[in-house]
């Protein structure tokens, strides 16, 4: 046995140094997984940047503009400016009006153009170039699903704006993504009892459905809930998203046996299809001895404005409406109305609330780390933000709260007084199991802090 003597040389010293350094660094490497430190875009200065990704051009630009107004108001309130809006009525008292965790809130904006690729590009830019730690906004389920996936990969939180497809918190749900807005299932569940009261349980429905993900889930939800009442579905027809004139789709309805038309359309599609349906006299028609009726499952005040007098008497559902009389809604309407001169839309409401909920979660978690925020939001129950007691369910990151059934107002007094609330459906009636077939598939996964 012999010992081979190896003299120390420069290379072995360097190697030893590298190994030693790695060994010393090991505890830090392991602890960086804890959410107290080491995450993407950790704010180090006196400010924190949020990314507001809304449609500034394209068919939903008007909604995007209202979302942006709401975000600006939320930033004002978070920074202690203005009248504080719903911060005063919010059941959580963690927000102090000094920014988030003492850091002043700043924001950058992006234009989704209501296109998934454009929305992803602008979100990516806000995360990478501007250091946004949270992305929020959007006005389309396609955009929400795409941006939510991007935020999951990147490691920032996504607080969805206006997205109503079941898939956002169904098969496409993500640990880093949260939705305050209601969904297609909830619309169907809220509408069905009201429709039964108004139109009976022996109806024949004809569906016209926008040919994309949101249309499919809405058609399925309304179809299933109305069939459960005893209604028959006569026909379901997909209409191209780019369609502007729906007369060719409306005329077969006239000749079918249907006595109800369900328009699973949104935005410009809804404005045009509803206008066409009214023009073709559907509402004056009597079929099977009953007055022909039209239903718009997802209403938006801004879209109702586009459709004008045609919305009168037509039922639909909405996430929130400015005429609600709870303290939170009144505070928000006052704050928004005084700043902008008109009441907020449901898009403005949901995005304002999402911004507040994110900030509050950071305060309660004591960190901006996405994993801490996820933990703070999962299973979080709150009140005072406009829809009664609300739960951010841990299993799918979907908010469960009261849903409104509305009807086009017969005698509106102004441009924004177009819908009247006919029913506030309690959260319990629109709650479903996390593994409900309409939400089947996909997995929430685990939070990604991006570091």
């Amino acid at each position: 046995m012999s010992l081979i003597y190896k003299p120390l040389n420069r290379r072995s010293i360097l190697r030893a140094g590298a190994l030693g350094g790695t060994a010393l660094a090991m505890p830090t490497v392991f602890t960086s997984r804890a959410w107290s430190q080491g995450y993407l875009n950790e704010p180090t200065g006196s400010t924190v940047t949020l990314g507001f990704n809304v449609p500034q051009t394209g068919p939903y630009a008007e909604e995007g503009a209202d979302e942006l107004r709401a975000y600006e108001l939320a930033v004002e309130h978070l920074n202690g400016e203005g009248d504080g809006g719903m911060m005063g009525t919010f059941s959580s008292k963690a927000l102090k009006g000094n920014g988030i965790l003492g850091k002043k809130v700043e924001y950058v904006t992006g234009d989704t153009q209501t296109k998934s690729d454009a929305a992803r590009a602008s979100a990516k830019s806000m995360i990478e170039k501007d250091g946004a730690i949270m992305i929020t906004g959007g006005s389309s389920s396609g955009v929400a699903v795409a941006v939510q996936a991007l935020c999951q990969e990147a490691g920032v939180i996504f607080m969805a704006g206006l997205t109503h497809s079941n898939d956002t918190t169904g098969k496409d749900k993500r640990a880093n993504g949260f939705r305050h807005f209601f969904n297609s299932y909830m619309s169907g569940a809220a509408l069905a009892p009201v429709l039964k009261n108004a139109y009976g349980d022996d109806r024949k429905a004809y569906h016209l459905t926008a040919d994309y993900n949101w249309g499919y889930t809405t058609e399925q939800a309304v179809k299933e809930s109305t069939e459960a009442l005893g209604w028959e579905t006569v026909e379901t027809v997909k209409t191209p998203l780019a369609a502007t004139d729906f007369s060719a789709y409306i005329t077969p309805v006239l000749q079918s046996d249907a006595d109800v038309l369900v328009l699973n359309h949104y935005g410009g599609n809804m404005v045009n299809s509803l206008t066409n349906a009214v023009q073709f006299g559907l509402r004056d028609k009597v079929v099977n001895g009953k007055n022909f009726e039209i239903i718009v499952p997802l209403y938006s005040r801004l879209m109702a404005k586009g459709a004008g007098a045609n919305v009168k008497g037509i039922f639909g559902s909405t996430n929130w409406h400015w005429s609600l009389q709870d303290e939170g809604s009144k505070a928000f309407v006052k704050s928004f109305g005084q700043k902008y001169g008109f009441p907020p839309s449901q898009a403005a409401h949901t995005t304002y609330v999402q911004a507040l909920l994110y900030a509050d979660a950071c305060e309660r978690a004591g960190t901006f780390n996405p994993c801490g925020v996820v933990e703070a939001l999962e299973g979080f129950e709150f009140d005072g933000l406009g829809n009664g007691k609300t739960l951010y369910r841990a299993e799918d990151h979907q908010c469960f709260k009261d849903v409104l059934v509305v009807k086009g107002k017969e005698n509106p007094t102004s441009d924004f007084d177009l819908l009247e609330i006919v029913e506030v459906t309690p959260a319990s009636q629109v709650t479903y199991a996390p593994d409900h077939p309409q939400f089947a598939g996909g997995a929430l996964g685990t939070c990604n802090p991006g570091a």
């Binding site: 077969p252 000749q255 404005v271 023009q279 006299g281 004008g308 008109f342």
Partner: protein, 343 residues
């Protein structure tokens, strides 16, 4: 049978819009040789002329109604249109109610000015440039125009109703001896079709029976020879550009009650109208009109549930399918001149 008749009616109606836009496009291509991608924007501006006149006639003064409150709980501000104050509620209301047909008169000088300004201010510099350059510049112009409209009017569609007397629908089937309640059709769509027929007839008559039209047609056939005769053909072609703008504008004005005007409605029609022009035959006025109605009717048939069930997605591609078949078998289009689009 009744379903087929109904879809033909629908097609005529949609075809009217296609035909009017394609007619203008063809006038411009046939006279100036310019592929005008801003033509859809002219259609949109026409629709917004109707919106603007409606708003102008509705300009109001404010009074405070202490008995009612607004959404913030303040006394309600009640708006009363000046027109109603001046002419009385009934007469004033009727004037506002008729704003869309009145906008026809309002839009003619505006569209002529827009057309002249476009042609003299921008497009004339691109006559000798390749078609690709013309397409780029006119497409850019279209985007600028729609952004201007969006800036002033917002992105939301703006409902612009037809006069009350034309609201609703009537029993077309009963009129032609069919069972009642089988074919119900909106009044305004019939008005639109009739209006389009009058405009198309008027343009053809103008080109056919006036000296100006005869010179223009001669210029379309051989520009140089007409120029050598001492006729300022360029000026006449500029007038034709303005006329094409007026046609597109009028198509837009009357379309406003059918679908609420919005800032991208021009783009929605533009591509389809180009397909109409190509199918009809580049430069052929009767071709543009015939193809407009033909494709409108085909599109309506392709949208029927029975057809879509048989051939899913056919409603979205029918127009392009027809265009491919026509271009493969008859590159000059249905009524196009020999040599155009042919090698």
């Amino acid at each position: 049978m009744d379903a087929i008749l109904l879809q033909i009616l629908n097609g005529l109606d949609k075809g009217s819009a296609y035909a009017l836009i394609a007619l203008g496009l063809t006038l411009i291509f046939g006279t100036l040789g310019v592929v005008n991608f801003a033509h859809g924007a002219l259609f949109m501006i026409g629709a917004f002329c109707a919106v603007t006149l409606n708003r102008l006639l509705s300009v109001s003064f404010t009074t405070i109604d202490d008995t009612r409150t607004d959404f913030l709980g303040n006394p309600l501000k009640v708006e009363t249109p000046y027109v109603e104050a001046w002419f009385g509620p009934e007469m004033g209301g009727a004037i506002i109610d008729w704003s869309v047909p009145l906008a026809i008169l309002f839009s003619i000088p505006i569209m002529a000015l827009v057309g002249l300004f476009m042609e003299r201010g921008l497009i004339k510099y691109f006559y000798k440039r390749p078609h690709a350059d013309q397409i780029l510049v006119t497409f850019g112009l279209a985007i600028v125009l729609q952004e201007i409209i969006k800036y002033f009017y917002g992105a939301n569609p703006i409902p612009t109703p037809a006069p009350e007397v034309f609201a609703g629908s009537f029993d077309f089937g009963a009129l032609i001896g069919m069972d009642p309640n089988i074919i119900i059709y909106p009044y305004w769509r019939i008005v639109y079709f009739l209006f389009a027929t009058v405009i198309i007839g008027g343009v053809f008559a103008f080109l056919q029976f006036t000296t100006f039209g005869m010179v223009v047609r001669a210029g379309m056939a051989d520009r140089q020879t007409v120029g050598l005769l001492g006729i300022d053909i360029d000026r006449r072609f500029t007038v034709m550009f303005a006329l094409a703008a007026i046609v597109a504008g009028l198509a837009g004005v009357m379309y406003a009650p059918i679908n609420s005007p919005n800032y991208h409605m021009g783009m929605d029609f533009l591509v389809l109208s180009f397909v109409v022009v190509v199918v009809g035959g580049m430069g052929s006025l009767p071709g543009a009109v015939a193809a407009g109605f033909l494709l409108g009717i085909l599109e309506s048939f392709a949208s029927m549930a029975q057809v879509v069930a048989l051939l899913p997605g056919i409603n979205q591609i029918i127009i392009y399918l027809v265009a491919i078949v026509i271009l493969l078998t008859r590159p000059r289009g249905l009524l196009g001149r020999k040599g155009v689009m042919e090698s």
